[in-house]
């Protein structure tokens, strides 16, 4: 594609000369590198609640972020519109980080626009479709949840879509663009019986068209699963407290890897040596059964990107291979300072945020064990299949994640459901305690949101069934 065909040139009259001017302004105080991040993002959301369409919302975000790098220092400024004076002002503000004479060279943006592949090639973006089609998905969700069980008293179904145009231009003359779709449907149910109330939640989505809700992620499946969880919780026992053997089910429980391992392997924390994993590349950090990958190149996944938010192609990055730590997730700054190759993990929430190393789709490769054999091998333990959220302290390595659906395992059999409990462990040791890895790797359904330094981005996680020798379960039943 030609630069002139991007939305920023076509609709907002940006020109190649503008780009060069902005970058020259950005380097006017002698920075080493500058880039421009143009973003045009449209969001739609529709909420169904109490069986009516309560609200519909549209959002427009337009702006450009200007970054100037000088050594380890970053200057950042942005403008909420593409007015030339305002962008120049932002470029001059960002330029202030540097304090040297400019090298006299002028930036030339001559390179053709890069987009070598499209991981989310879809015929029609959800945003372009009639709102009525989206309302139909919500109404179907509501019907399915209520039909699942009479004890379902409240259903909230939310549809959201996003269309994001991105143009990145660097002082090295490179230009890259992308057009990113994202869609998601969430269903929250409240079940009530004899004065007891419980909730269930399920969602699904990805970088796809609305056809994503025609297959296994149809609204009926999502809503029934949400309702099933709420009903199940009505009869759940208090969760146990103390260290236990734990089996994690496939899919979304991969949040364990995201918290326990993934964040600690983001290059910024390792460059600054504030991560519990700093300096451990080449060392054994997990059992030989564990191979952990971050892969931003899986078609249509929520965490996938053609390019990261610095314009570099995403990769499949092996983080841990058979228990040995292989490397970190890099953005441009850390990769330069650590003299390690880029991995395409520089991401940002939007134009008003500085990019940093982030995950894409993070998962563990399948092993050899049959999932049912893993359960059978446990005498007394916990089987956790659904999770709420998790968090990690990068420096101490301690992480938690909260089960929302879990069962006791007694003598090799799954028995009573237990209430949600928080599992707590230590990132650098939890993988050493993995004693079985199932053959059933599954990615989550497209619901992950990751937060770091106040920036949230979409991600995916995945896991086969795994067994952990011991992890502390934080229930109330001693």
């Amino acid at each position: 594609m030609e630069l002139s065909k991007t939305i920023f040139f076509e609709k907002y009259n940006v020109t190649t000369t503008d780009l060069e001017n902005y970058l020259n302004e950005a380097l006017s105080r002698g920075g080493d590198y500058a880039d421009l991040y143009f973003e045009h993002r449209i969001n739609h959301s529709i909420v169904l609640e109490e069986q009516i369409i309560k609200s519909a919302t549209k959002g427009v975000n337009l702006g450009v972020g200007v970054r100037v790098v000088s050594g380890e220092k970053t200057g950042y400024a942005y403008s909420d519109d593409l007015n030339r004076d305002n962008v120049v002002k932002a470029a001059r503000t960002a330029a202030f980080i540097a304090n040297a004479a400019p090298d006299g060279g002028k930036v030339q943006v001559a390179a053709p626009l890069e987009r070598e592949r499209n991981l989310y090639s879809i015929p029609i973006f959800p945003a372009e479709l009639e709102i009525a089609q989206k309302i139909a998905l919500l109404e179907e969700s509501d019907r399915a949840a209520r039909a699942f069980d009479r004890r379902i008293k409240q259903v909230q179904a939310i549809y959201v879509d996003e269309t994001k145009h991105v143009l990145i231009v660097t002082s090295e003359g490179k230009a890259a663009w992308d057009l990113q779709p994202l869609v998601r449907l969430n269903v929250l149910c409240i079940a009530e019986e004899n004065g007891k109330r419980q909730s269930g939640y399920q969602g699904g989505g990805g970088r796809r068209g609305l056809d994503i809700f025609a297959g296994e992620l149809d609204p009926k499946a999502i809503a029934s699963e949400s309702a099933r969880q709420a009903i199940l919780q009505l009869g759940a026992l208090e969760a146990p407290a103390g260290p236990m053997e734990v089996v994690l089910g496939p899919g979304w429980p991969g949040i364990l890897l995201h918290e326990a391992i993934g964040h600690g392997l983001e290059a910024d924390f390792n460059r600054k040596k504030t991560s519990a994993f700093a300096g451990l590349v080449g060392q054994k950090v997990g059992s030989e059964l564990c191979t952990v990958v971050d892969d931003g190149t899986i078609p249509f996944r929520r965490g996938s990107l053609n390019m990261d938010d610095e314009g570099n192609p995403t990769h499949q990055t092996v983080l841990i291979e058979k228990g040995i730590l292989q490397g970190y997730l890099q953005d441009r700054l850390s990769s330069k300072l650590m003299r390690l190759p880029l991995t395409g993990n520089g991401r940002r929430q939007s134009y008003d945020h500085i990019p940093m190393p982030r995950m894409t789709n993070t998962f563990m490769m399948s092993g050899d064990s049959a999932p049912e054999d893993i359960i059978k091998s446990v005498k007394k333990g916990l089987y956790a299949v659904q999770f709420g959220g998790g968090q990690v302290d990068i420096t101490s390595g301690k992480f938690v994640f909260s089960a929302s659906e879990a069962y006791l395992i007694e003598d090799g059999h799954i028995t009573a459901p237990v209430k949600g409990a928080t599992l707590i462990g230590d990132g650098p040791t939890v993988l050493r305690r993995v004693t079985a890895v199932g053959s059933d790797l599954k990615l989550d359904q497209g619901i992950g949101i990751c937060g770091k330094d106040g920036q949230t981005i979409p991600v995916s996680v995945g896991l086969p069934t795994i067994k952990i020798r011991e992890i502390t379960v934080g229930g109330t039943e001693k």
Binding site: E49, I52, I53, K54, S55, A56, T57, K58, G59, V60, L62, G63, K73, T74, G75, Y76, A77, Y78, S79, D80, D81, F96, I97, A132, K153, Q154, I190, R197, Q198, A239, A241, G242, P243, K272, K273, T274, D352, G389, G390, Q391, D393, T395, S396, G397, K398, F399, V400, S402, K419, G420, A421, T422, I424, G425, D426, T472, G474, G475, T476, K478
Partner: protein, 448 residues
């Protein structure tokens, strides 16, 4: 200000022309500066003015909302028309509508939200505040070997709001925060902790040296942390962690969680829901309060709302919508999310101080855990079930014994509120929600 107010009026006019029966428009403009320093060097410097316009339209009792950062007239006009079109496709909702309290009026109180003296602080002086905080932390002790940095943030915000009932007003405020995160190292590993100060006025800020030193001391005291055995003991929440408990109470008393029946405090007004020494209030009128404002994001005048008085639940907090739905009155807690939809937000929501110093609370404890950080999301707002990862200090015979990590604390918020035994005199405001030190008996700690 008047420029924002005139944009707001233009959008309202357009909405009326496009067929909206009623509408309200809000613009928030933030002028922000933030700097992060690390190991004595500036790491990032960020400066910008950002604007966001939020529109809500009603057609009869159907509603739609929109927001945009792009305020060029062409984009605004198109968005107004699209929002009106969207509203036609939503359902009739008998509780929808503008709050009738949000009409033109004079004489909002001066809540002292703006400290103009910040403008005189140069970028170099702002950077220096962060530098000094980090330097103080790094020089506290040789075991402070590293730093995640120190940051200074400053925002001057302007809000302009108008509706088709004639409300048209604006206000302006400043706030700043200084934050420091040192890393301590021993043979057992690394520990980080933080300390901060947040205020609207310069003179309310703690000195960078105090912040850096306190952050370092907090990191140092975590060195050598270990697990403790599983068991049931008293838990003391410091003001930072107690604040998160108040956040759960806030979520449970919002009108939206009540009508959705997703609150552990549902249907309990007039009942004893907490220990008799507990008083919780939402006070929007606190002078210079971080959550204070003359009117809410729907134009409703703000107020002081008692939530729990001597342990008895008195009121839920409402937007116009939830008030109408639950046959109550708006409490001035309407809050516009970035998406433009109205939710319910805290103003200054806090647990009133008790009579004990934190030292008295610790020394009264035979065996217990003093919690300084909580991680994870293990709180079920519907049932009140509570289970979170905790970092703290083990207390025995009234004294700190050793730091603790990799444990969880669990219970149920309903019982936890009733089991609050002692309340500190040390309420600390770092945002809209605040609490003093709290001691809660009989919580389950899960560790070894």
């Amino acid at each position: 200000m008047s420029e924002l107010q005139s944009t707001v009026q233009q959008v309202l006019e357009r909405a009326k022309k496009s067929g909206a029966g009623a509408a309200d428009v809000m613009i928030r403009e933030d002028e922000s500066f933030s700097v992060t320093v690390r190991m004595g060097q500036v790491e990032t410097l960020k400066q910008a003015i950002s604007r966001s316009l939020m529109l809500r339209v009603f057609i009869g009792q159907r509603t739609a909302t929109s927001h945009t950062s792009d305020l060029t007239p062409v984009v605004l006009h198109r968005l107004v028309d699209e929002t009106v079109d969207m509203a036609k496709l939503t359902s009739e909702d008998e509780s929808a509508g503008l709050p009738e309290q949000a009409i033109h009026r004079r004489g909002f109180p001066d809540l002292q939200l703006l400290d103009p003296s910040w403008e005189a602080v140069t970028p170099a002086a702002r950077i220096d505040l962060a530098m000094r905080a980090e330097a103080a932390a790094l020089s506290t002790n040789h075991a402070i070997t590293n730093s995640e940095g120190a940051s200074f943030d400053y925002t001057r915000s302007r809000v302009a709001l108008a509706n088709t009932l004639g409300f048209d007003d604006a206000y302006e405020g400043t706030s700043a925060g200084l934050y420091c995160v040192p890393v301590a190292q021993s043979k057992d590993g690394m520990q980080r902790d933080y300390w901060l100060s947040v205020a609207r006025y310069r003179h309310q800020m703690q000195s960078p040296e105090e912040i850096g030193t306190k952050a370092a001391q907090r990191a140092l005291r975590r060195l050598g942390a270990r697990k403790i055995p599983t068991g049931e003991v008293s838990v003391i929440f410091d003001p930072l962690t107690a604040r998160s408990l108040l956040g759960h109470v806030f979520d449970a008393v919002t009108g939206s969680s009540i009508y959705r029946r997703s609150s552990f405090l549902l249907d309990q007004t007039g009942e004893l829901v907490a220990a008799e020494n507990i008083n919780i209030v939402d006070d929007a009128l606190m002078p210079a309060g971080l959550g204070s404002s003359p009117f809410d994001d729907e134009g409703v005048p703000t107020q002081v709302t008692p939530i729990i008085e001597t342990g008895v639940l008195r009121n839920y907090l409402h937007s116009a919508y939830t008030a109408k739905k639950l046959r109550s009155l708006p409490t001035g807690n309407g809050s516009r999310a970035a998406s433009g939809t109205v939710t319910i937000g805290p103003t200054n929501f806090y647990l009133k101080p008790g009579k004990y110093t934190p030292e008295e609370i610790i020394s009264s404890t035979e065996k217990g855990l003093y919690v300084v950080e909580l991680i994870g999301f293990g709180v079920n707002p519907v049932t009140g079930d509570y289970s979170r990862g905790a970092v703290g200090i083990w207390v025995e015979n009234g004294k700190f014994v050793h730091p603790v990590q990799e444990v969880t604390i669990a219970g149920n918020l309903r019982e936890m509120l009733k089991n609050i035994e002692m309340i500190g005199n040390d309420v600390m405001f770092l945002g809209s929600i605040a609490a003093p030190t709290l001691k809660i008996r009989n919580m389950v700690i899960s560790g070894d």
